[in-house]
């Protein structure tokens, strides 16, 4: 198995390199070219890349583990996230129109402009770094653990981290979003095909679909019930789903994509394509988790479900090897998009307002990309509990930016103070609650964070003077575009 993994890993890396460097052809000058692929991304490519960016190693490892531990609630959780993509139907065209009219590169820059304060974008950029660097580190840790386990230590944990980080960094630096889009497209195909193959073989090993369904219903019926064996109480379900429902507008590595498509038609293709891909990948990951439960019940840790299933011999070695590469691809394709987005945020929303004229913004962004990679590697190697907690807290942490994002388009009375107070105040509170593991009054931290962010945004905005002229100038081209494109 070790030799097979190493050979396929090499093939995958070489293919990715070829794709990334061929994407350099046609790369123009400037931040818009580098970070947004010149706002010329096609619909199909964007759909594939959006899928690769959104779906990390979490799906076939984490979601499968959640299914193994908590049963069918994992399916509900992931599908509520998918329904949250309805937000892209509302905000996607608005981001796109505002981006074209005002030349925004990052969502944070859009907020800075709309609220007439560079502090808003700066704080948003810092928040993104605080939560997304640990999130990337955990992805790298996943690669490290998986490669170490399936190669019997031939590729050690530390080497696995460096391989993942190295690939993500090179594929991002090669041509910015252009190389990320193309390598993502390759990787999402690998992710989807390998997971479909693996699930097909595992269900066959269980005696076919009929026997698989019977085995689960007979031996593990509780896992098909809600709330199930205990993990998915209604409170936990709400606490998990709330931040993920808003993921598509709160996480910059995906919301930035709303600036990149060549037309609204391409955005429509991106959204529809991603929804179908997401539905399939979710069902596959959940069935994979149920299969682990049927074949290997009683594992000490649910996170071990996928590695244990791969090592169990229930599926052919060749299929197990390709699935390992599929999981590595899922992690790398998420990490490279996060690196690119954080680089853009740091260059555009932290460096540019401070540097006179914003010269060398792109260079600053690339240096930040190296720094982010270094930090992610360092955090992953340290294996600190705090990093894992911050990673888990990332979706709740970024949820606090949602009121300011919604207010940007739908509440002219919203102010910079409201945005700042809500992001900082609710962000600090939700992080403290997550780090200390407390749920006051039995209410999950994410619900506290989201609710507090709304209250703080509204209250502080009402107490301060609104930049109404700026809000009107910001919205006018958006309003005209919405009418022209018949968007609700």
């Amino acid at each position: 198995m070790t030799q097979g993994v190493l050979i396929l890993l090499g093939v995958y890396a070489l293919l990715g390199m070829a794709v990334a460097f061929s994407a350099r052809r046609g790369l123009g000058e400037g931040a818009g070219e580098y970070y947004l692929a010149g706002r010329r991304a096609g619909g199909v490519l964007s759909a594939l890349s959006y899928g690769a960016t959104t779906y990390s190693a979490f799906m076939m490892v984490g979601l499968a583990g959640l299914t193994y531990a908590g049963g069918v609630g994992a399916l509900g959780f992931e599908l509520v996230y998918l329904a949250g993509l309805g937000l892209v139907a509302i905000f996607g065209p608005r981001f796109w129109l505002a981006g074209r009219a005002h030349g925004f590169i990052t969502p944070a820059e859009m907020l800075s402009h709309r609220y007439d304060s560079p502090w808003v974008g700066g704080v948003m950029a810092v928040a993104a770094c605080i939560f997304l660097i640990p999130y990337s580190a955990v992805q790298l840790m996943g690669i490290g653990y998986l490669l170490e386990a399936v190669t019997d230590g031939a590729v050690g944990f530390q080497s696995g981290i460096l391989i993942g980080a190295g690939l993500a960094l090179i594929w991002t630096l090669a041509a910015g979003l252009r190389s990320v889009l193309w390598t993502d497209a390759l990787q999402v195909v690998v992710m989807l095909v390998t997971s479909l193959l693996a699930v097909g073989f595992i269900v066959a090993a269980l005696g076919g679909p009929g026997d698989f369904l019977d085995t689960i219903a007979t031996d593990h019926g509780e896992w098909l019930a809600v709330p199930g064996p205990g993990l998915f109480s209604l409170t936990t379900f709400i606490g998990l789903t709330l931040p993920w429902f808003f993921f598509s507008i709160s996480n910059p590595q995906v919301s930035q994509r709303l600036f990149t498509t060549e037309s609204l038609g391409a955005m429509r293709t991106m959204l529809a394509g991603f929804l179908i891909l997401g539905l399939v990948y979710t069902l596959v990951s959940v069935i994979w988790g149920f299969s682990a439960l049927a074949l290997l019940p009683g594992l000490e840790s649910a996170d071990q479900a996928t590695p244990a299933l791969l090592a169990s011999g229930a599926i052919p070695k060749g299929i197990a090897i390709v699935l390992v590469i599929g999981i590595v691809a899922a992690a790398v394709s998420t990490v490279d998009s996060i690196m690119l987005s954080l680089s853009a945020l740091a260059g555009r929303d932290l460096y540019r307002p401070l540097a006179r004229g914003g010269r060398h913004e792109l260079l600053a962004g690339k240096l930040v990309m190296l720094l982010v990679t270094g930090l992610a590697i360092a955090f992953a190697r340290l294996q600190l509990d705090l990093i894992t907690i911050l990673s888990v807290a990332s979706s709740s942490g970024l949820l606090v930016t949602v009121p300011a994002i919604v207010g940007c388009f739908f509440w002219a009375r919203g102010t910079a103070t409201g945005a700042l107070v809500s992001i900082i105040g609710a962000g600090v509170i939700v992080t403290l609650l997550q780090v200390t593991g407390s749920n006051p009054l039995g209410i999950p931290a994410s619900v506290w964070g989201g609710g507090l962010a709304v209250v703080l945004f509204v209250t502080a905005s009402l107490l301060t003077r609104a930049p109404t002229a700026r809000a009107e100038a910001f919205m006018q081209p958006v309003r005209e575009g919405l009418a022209r494109h018949r968007v609700l």
Binding site: L79, A272, V478
Partner: protein, 63 residues
Amino acid sequence: MDRPTASGRGLLGLLAVLIVLAYAVPYGLLRDIPSWQAAFLFWTLFGVAAVAVIIRLISGWRP
């Protein structure tokens, strides 16, 4: 600051109802039923319906 069209508003309302049902039905009507035909089937149908509504919602865009 801007207003959705009537049909778009209807579809958005439908999506909102579906999302509420995604919580209410499995944790209410289908609670504690250990069968594939309960929460699993419901959530799968919910996913398909939500995707269909969103695609319908964006199909009216005029690029």
